[in-house]
């Protein structure tokens, strides 16, 4: 190793294996989670009854995205020990030795401060406070305390992922209303069945990493039952949004169809035992997990369609 590379140390004081690229730092920010945050915040922003200048909207969305990225960096900084023990996360920048924990922490804190401060300038103080609270909740409370202590980690931690449409709404209106709260409820109630479906067939990895996911702690029967219960609650919240002004024909149609499918897939997961699931290589659980991603995309995309129809004067 050359002198230049030897100056920098890896996560445990070992020589760094490779010089980090921009892509490594970017992946610290969990770009897939960021894309979901941007999308749902955009829906909250555009569904709001107050029009906002596109440049201000863009700048505000950027701040929300950077804030989400900062939370991701703080999460990776704290969880590098777990990440190095799970196959799914072993190649992340810190466990693979491309980025040090100190760099991740510095990026997490730096971007948190910048995103919150700039959102207060670009949009309003309420949005900035909500963003700061979300970063503190996810990066601090969930990552550092909750995740390793309770099997309800996903349920409570899901609140952080559910807040972006509320922030998007407050950027436009400066206040909170029932519509963004229902959008919050949809993501909040969607998170447990989404992650528990994954955890059912990945539970060995969570056990080895000592993360108390519900299937590890409460068993698969209880997990399957709770997946069904949350899916029904999700359908209720999702269908309730139909009766608010932000929803139109696109949302109503999509919500009815996708919630019926979601509940059907959840019922298949609930109604079978672990032996059958293993024999079928967790086919139903994998289907529910995959469909849950499509579900969320369709639900929020249909709100965008209705917002477009409304602004065109068609509804």
């Amino acid at each position: 190793m050359s002198d230049l590379t030897a100056r920098y140390d890896g996560p445990q004081g070992t020589p760094r294996e490779a010089e980090a690229s921009i892509g490594d730092f970017f992946s610290l920010m969990k770009p897939r989670v960021m894309s979901l945050v941007i999308f749902t915040a955009l829906v909250g922003l555009l569904a709001a009854p107050v029009a906002i200048h596109p440049i201000v909207g863009f700048a505000s969305l950027l701040c929300i995205a950077i804030g989400a990225g900062a939370s991701g960096a703080l999460n990776m900084w704290w969880e590098s020990d777990i990440d190095s023990r799970m196959g799914r996360t072993q190649n992340r920048p810190i466990p693979s030795g491309r980025v040090t924990r100190e760099e991740a922490l510095a990026i997490g804190i730096g971007l948190s401060v910048i995103s919150v401060a700039m959102l207060a300038v670009f949009a309003n103080v309420l949005s900035a406070v909500l963003l700061a609270g979300t970063i503190a909740f996810y990066g601090g409370f969930y990552t550092m305390w909750l995740k390793r202590r309770t099997p309800q980690n996903i349920v409570i931690g899901g609140a952080a992922g559910a807040i972006p449409p509320v922030i998007g709404w407050t950027v436009a209106t400066g206040s909170v209303a029932v519509e963004p709260l229902l959008m919050f409820a949809i993501i909040f109630l969607w998170t447990p069945p989404h992650f528990w479906a994954l955890a059912l067939w990945k539970r060995r990895e969570y056990t080895e990493a000592e993360v108390p996911m519900l299937p590890v702690v409460a068993g698969t029967v209880s997990t399957r039952r709770q997946i069904m219960a949350y899916s029904v609650a999700l359908a209720a919240a999702s269908l309730a949004l139909i009766f608010t002004p932000v929803a139109g024909p696109a949302y109503a149609t999509v919500a009815i169809v996708t919630n019926a499918l979601f509940c059907l897939l959840a019922y298949r997961v609930w109604s079978r035992d672990e032996e059958t699931a293993q024999a079928e290589k967790y086919g139903a659980e994998k289907k529910l997990f995959a469909f849950s991603l499509t579900y969320l995309a369709l639900i929020f995309a249909s709100l965008l369609v209705d917002a477009a129809l409304r602004s065109a004067g068609w509804i």
Binding site: M1, S2, D3, L4, T5, A18, E19, A20, S21, I22, F25, H53, I55, V56, A59, L62, M118, V121, F122
Partner: protein, 40 residues
């Protein structure tokens, strides 16, 4: 990884940071103009 590769990668990172900072300045300027126009 050789010194030349390390230099190249660091140069790439520094250029990227420079571009991001310039974009940030442009964004703040644009938002300022928009907000000032709204006050007029």
């Amino acid at each position: 990884m050789t010194d030349s590769h390390v230099h190249k990668r660091r140069l790439g990172r520094n250029v990227f940071v420079g571009v991001v900072l310039l974009a940030f300045v442009a964004l703040v300027f644009a938002v300022t103009i928009v907000k000032l126009q709204a006050l007029v």
